[in-house]
């Protein structure tokens, strides 16, 4: 074995994932930002719940950048003089709960149905695909309005509706990938070894499909947050005084010409959350791919 190969082997054994993360600046920043968001999610309402609802009429539409009304007003005040910062922190819980649960369920259900449609059989595959066609041909907003009008507008129902409307994307992508992977020779090999369908799906197909789904999930995350805000705007989503980032964007839209920061900061929060998720999922994809991983493992020398 040449020394270079030996080196590569040692690197693989000894480089843990967090060390690889530390080497990639963007991925590290994304991970830190997501950690911060998660901290807000866990502690935000307890720490800032009161500040987020306290009115300070002198600070109405206060521009950001001044601390004369206290550091909580650093990002400005909203139309009722409440602290933007506190509201953003508090809103993170509702936002992340709804968006994350909805994309997660959409991914699980869509991925599961997609695997069945792609792997199990043509008959059931057709049924599932027509079901996806029906879901997609329905305007998702209309579907949501109907469902939420019939059911009670609550957080749980909101999550269910959002998950169902996003489900076809995961379903189609999964099915397409499964149809491609199932024809690969290593799947034939597993079949010839006597591997069951479940074995092949779990060991050979899921590991290839999962990174793709994870990438879609991060993009979908922002779409869900905005969809949720338009439902809230129509009065069937989250209702004030509960807040989400999407709802804050919707409320701030009325003041765009006088107070841009009302819509800008929650929009920025959505954007940063999506971007971080995307960068991190991309990093995960590279780390989990043996043919790509060396790019991160390669010792940084000279060119830095």
């Amino acid at each position: 074995m040449t020394t270079a190969e030996q080196e590569a082997l040692i690197i693989r054994r000894k480089t843990p994932w967090w060390s690889l993360l530390a080497r990639d600046k963007f991925a590290l920043a994304a991970a830190l930002w997501l950690t911060l968001m998660f901290a807000c999610f866990l502690l935000g309402p307890e720490l800032f719940g009161k500040a987020a609802t306290t009115l300070n009429l002198r600070a109405r539409n206060l521009p950001p950048g001044s601390t004369e009304h206290g550091w909580l007003m650093f990002l400005g005040g909203d139309a009722l003089g409440r602290s933007m910062l506190a509201r953003l922190v508090v809103a993170s819980r509702n936002t992340l709960t709804i968006a994350l649960t909805a994309v997660f369920f959409a991914m699980i259900a869509g991925g599961f149905l997609g695997m069945i449609a792609g792997y199990v059989g043509r008959g059931i595959g057709h049924v599932i695909m027509r079901f996806a066609d029906v879901l997609q041909s329905f305007p998702s907003l209309l579907l949501a309005v109907v469902v939420l009008y019939v059911l009670e507008p609550s957080v749980t129902n909101l999550i269910i509706v959002l998950a169902i409307t996003r489900l076809p994307i995961y379903l189609r992508v999964t099915r397409a990938e499964v149809l491609e992977i199932r024809e690969r020779v290593f799947v034939d090999a597993a079949n010839a070894l006597g591997g069951s369908r479940y074995h092949i799906l779990r060991r050979h197909i899921t590991p290839v499909v999962a990174p793709t789904l994870l990438t879609i999930l991060t993009v979908d995350f922002s779409i869900i947050m905005l969809a949720e805000s338009s439902l809230s705007f129509l009065g069937i989503g989250i209702q004030p005084p509960e807040i989400t980032w999407g709802l804050m964007v919707a409320q701030g839209r009325n003041y765009l010409s006088q107070a841009w920061w009302l819509a800008f900061f929650p929009g920025l929060a959505i954007m940063l959350a999506t971007l971080s998720g995307n960068i991190l999922s991309n990093w995960l994809r590279v780390v989990s791919d043996p043919e790509q991983r060396w790019r991160l493992e390669k010792p940084r020398t000279g060119d830095e």
Binding site: E5, R184, F186, A190, L193, G195, R203, V208, E291
Partner: protein, 342 residues
């Protein structure tokens, strides 16, 4: 016809695998209509052969003659149209899922493309232990890491290769990994579907020698599929020649190569360049076949080779000639070359 004859032939052992009248037809439907069939491709149409323990049966033929389809149907990767394949007397094509799982434990495969046949996301250790994950009773989990490394050494790789991924290996090394996976369950029959045709010539010899060495050590019977005549000759005890979905000639390696009886076999062998020019130059006469291989969706009636055969007569267009045995050497032709012994 063939079935009875093969049992008359002096078999030293009971055949381990007996394929009878195997046929695989692919239906081609037109893209627009839903159910209408526009044609049938008869990729394999009535193939029979038997395989004895520890023996290598070479299966040669040009591209598209159905060699790989035979392999895929025997492995039940494709369902057959008709025929049977008795593995220890048990029909592979009729086996229930449980029976099939137990058959697959004893009937393994090496694929042609070593780049596609290994999952790129699994380490070599995971790839070679997959057979034991599927058949957990074959080897206790605690013994698997050692056995993986022992297998790697058996196929000419090193123990430390177990921790690597397939993309770190060359084609020949990958094929060795594929072989290690195939023999992990100690199979009785190994179907080698063109195992060396994707490799460099220098590497081909190494892999072939490895396969022969393994056969000597473990007594595995091979169905060795290839289009390279010299490779098949080197490997095989018996050789079957396929043309357009049928076996035209089957016999021992010596019989088929030195005394071919079917016109197609003669033409095929003559296409191979002789190694020793000085001796064979005068004797060696190339037979150039006219025309193309007919489409398997519309093969000629009767003998499928008649459209290109210089001996063809009216009778060849009628009933297809059956495989007839003389001295354990079968040929499907109405006008075969004389058998030297018979």
């Amino acid at each position: 016809m063939m079935v009875e004859n093969s049992s008359i032939s002096p078999a030293d052992d009971q055949p381990i695998l007996e394929v009878r009248e195997l046929a695989k037809h692919f239906e081609i439907g037109s893209g627009l209509s839903f159910k209408r069939k526009t044609g049938v491709v008869k990729a394999v149409d009535g193939v029979s052969f038997s395989l004895r323990p520890g023996e290598t049966l070479g299966l040669v033929g040009e591209s598209g003659c159905g060699k790989s389809t035979v392999a895929r149907t025997l492995l039940r990767l494709e369902e057959t149209t008709s025929g049977s394949a008795l593995f220890h007397g048990e029909d592979i094509f009729k086996a229930t899922p449980q029976e099939l799982k137990s058959i697959r434990r004893r009937l393994q495969v090496i694929f042609q493309d070593p780049y596609a046949s290994l999952n790129p996301r699994m380490t070599v250790e995971e790839i070679i232990s997959e057979p034991w994950v599927i058949h957990p009773d074959a080897l206790p989990a605690s013994e698997r890491p050692d056995k993986v490394r022992a297998l790697l050494e058996n196929v000419g790789l090193r123990r430390e290769h177990a921790e690597r991924y397939p993309h770190e290996f060359s084609g020949g090394q990958r094929q060795r990994i594929g072989i290690a996976r195939a023999i992990a369950l100690d199979p009785e029959v190994l179907i080698c579907d063109e195992p060396v045709s994707a490799l460099d010539v220098s590497v081909q010899a190494q892999v072939i020698n490895l396969l022969m060495e393994i056969q000597e050590r473990l007594g595995i019977a091979y169905v060795f599929i290839a289009h390279d005549l010299s490779v098949v000759r080197h490997m095989s005890h018996r050789v079957a020649v396929m043309y357009l979905g049928r076996i035209v000639e089957i016999g021992t390696e010596e019989q088929v190569y030195n005394h071919p009886r079917h016109p197609y076999t003669k033409a095929l062998l003559s296409a191979e360049a002789p190694l020793d020019f000085s001796k064979d130059r005068k004797k060696h006469q190339r037979i150039i076949l006219e025309g193309e291989v007919p489409s398997p969706s519309n093969p000629p009636s009767g003998c499928r080779f008649r459209s290109r055969c210089w001996k063809a007569q009216e009778v060849c267009a009628g009933e297809a000639p059956p495989l007839e045995y003389v001295n354990n050497h079968a040929v499907a032709c109405y006008f075969p070359e004389d058998s030297p012994a018979g």
